[in-house]
Symmetry: C3
Subunit: 272 residues, 3 copies
Amino acid sequence: MFDTWENIRKSMPLIHHITNYVTVNDVANMTLACGASPIMADDVNEAAEITQLAAGLCLNIGTLNQHTIPAMLSAARRSGALGHPVVLDPVGAGATALRTQTALDILQTGSVTCVRGNISEIKTLVHGTGHTQGVDAAAVDSVTEKNLASSCEFAKQAAHRLGTIVAITGAIDLAADAKKCYIIRNGHAEMSRITGTGCQCSALVAACIAANLAKPLEAAATAVMAMGFAGEMAHRKLLPGEGNATYRNRIIDTICHLGAEDLRKGARYEIC
Amino acid sequence: MFDTWENIRKSMPLIHHITNYVTVNDVANMTLACGASPIMADDVNEAAEITQLAAGLCLNIGTLNQHTIPAMLSAARRSGALGHPVVLDPVGAGATALRTQTALDILQTGSVTCVRGNISEIKTLVHGTGHTQGVDAAAVDSVTEKNLASSCEFAKQAAHRLGTIVAITGAIDLAADAKKCYIIRNGHAEMSRITGTGCQCSALVAACIAANLAKPLEAAATAVMAMGFAGEMAHRKLLPGEGNATYRNRIIDTICHLGAEDLRKGARYEIC
Amino acid sequence: MFDTWENIRKSMPLIHHITNYVTVNDVANMTLACGASPIMADDVNEAAEITQLAAGLCLNIGTLNQHTIPAMLSAARRSGALGHPVVLDPVGAGATALRTQTALDILQTGSVTCVRGNISEIKTLVHGTGHTQGVDAAAVDSVTEKNLASSCEFAKQAAHRLGTIVAITGAIDLAADAKKCYIIRNGHAEMSRITGTGCQCSALVAACIAANLAKPLEAAATAVMAMGFAGEMAHRKLLPGEGNATYRNRIIDTICHLGAEDLRKGARYEIC
């Protein structure tokens, strides 16, 4: 399982990101921290060409616009044709028609390997409904200890319906294909006070899958655990008076040093 | 007065930002630090829809372009129609015709609740002239102890003429409506060596007004004090060798922990 | 030589950046850290007007797109007409046709004072070939102790052919005009794990040349040394567990405090 984490540093995959301008710098530094290499390029006139150079593609619709949407679709199609993994982060799907439709259009290319989002975004993509509040999941949708069995079932169904792996992050994280679901209890509540921890998680998922083509589910689950565990470790290192800006840096720093053995010890998960 | 600060954490308003890509990450983390929630979206095809979900709108023209200008106008109109507060940060108004005209066009929608800028930007909007130097105010325009009475008078007139609250930040800050002006002496000179402290201040103003719809002037003044006081506190915590990058993080961290009672003690202001 | 560094703080040049959205915040804070002032503006409707206000222009094609390319060309032409220095960072030239062509088009304006890039990017611009891998140089192109003499010769030829100063950064840095080449051995290998150290270096080069119009080669070489030396100093300050996110901040912090005398002592270079 955790050899997937080591494989990122061994293969140093180049990941093409078409992502939002809010968290792009953190996404790039996180990609470097885990041992992969980022390239950001979102013009339709070069998107496919860039993807061709890369080992994987990460599409994040956080600040999508009419110029980057065609670039995303073009890159997704090329990546699919080349057999490269594609991760989709459907930020705010359900919040606006444009976001929902764009996420569905990207899924329609048939190129997406994994969707990493919050539960409301995933519900929107599967059922056409969800309770996305801005870019956050709604409480009513949350994965909790009480609804865990049905949530796992939903994750598997979602994977089946979307034809992808799904990684659903929140207080409890789920990573599933149609048959198997990892329930992951790493993470810290304060991570939600940092912008872009979800985007950074998607970047780790893309890097890990690109380095482990034969084990995409294990790779996605490992990346989700790594992000959560780094969030825990970094939180323990916070000094009095330090807040979300420093916490953000410490999480990236933690990933920079996180070894597979640390992760094996820190990961808290079960399979259902 | 300082209950307005607490009200941000109580109501956790969702703030729609159409802002520049230079400081957007800091703006998002600052919005989270004060207890509000950010959503960035600048495509004209979803701007109004996003605004409708939010409790307030913050428009910052720092890197305006022909695609985001229509989105800003669309969002401003929708926010105005819904009675949501709109904060305008007219970055660089006076520096180019495009910036001046765009700021005036946004004001023309009649939706703007508060304009937060430097003195040269505000003079440009009121008198059509100012001495904006790039994105900084010109020394000749500065609010000083010597011209304080006339500066307060100007701030009130500006509020009257623009039909908004004005928050003018610099060595001495002013927050005024047509009748009342807060003179605020919080802040630290080194804040000007960090990119985006003005943008972050505007984000705090938007969050605070959105959480205090009935007291927009008090809310704007409180947000300006919070930014300045955080700048002072964070500066005291700087270690030898730390510079503007770390200072930036520490200001956001400070806001993350800043309580209304701390602010009441730290605020230095008078009313004229 | 190192008076060029002091001159940035004395003249505080305003630098117009049209740059990528990945590292723009770091570029702005780095520009402030060295004593210059940044303004970012990339709409074709104001690019030339902004450039006219500034003392120098820094063009970075890291996330170029069909809207910013005309703005870059317009700003380059205006800067050239005004005799302002223009620095070009041809990020990813050689990786895609769009990047190579755009860099060549900017060079064709005849306005570029200095090109700051990695060796593969510069080879692409000079020979039409290079081995750019994403945004990183290929190992096969690297400047090493073994090929140093021919690399210096190449740098001078490149300067001659492009009609500009060239600053080639990597494990060993070169800054050359057609007749003289600085070989610079400052820097730290871990800098490559931070996104945008190249972009930040270009920003320092632009600030330093703008403050030293009569000595562009010395200014460029000094800026490259400053970036490398700051990378060394900052690395020494890293605490256990700190990684690339904190390292990034500490480099900017170091520049914030770096004096000409520190730099004179820390610079490791020879001339050939």
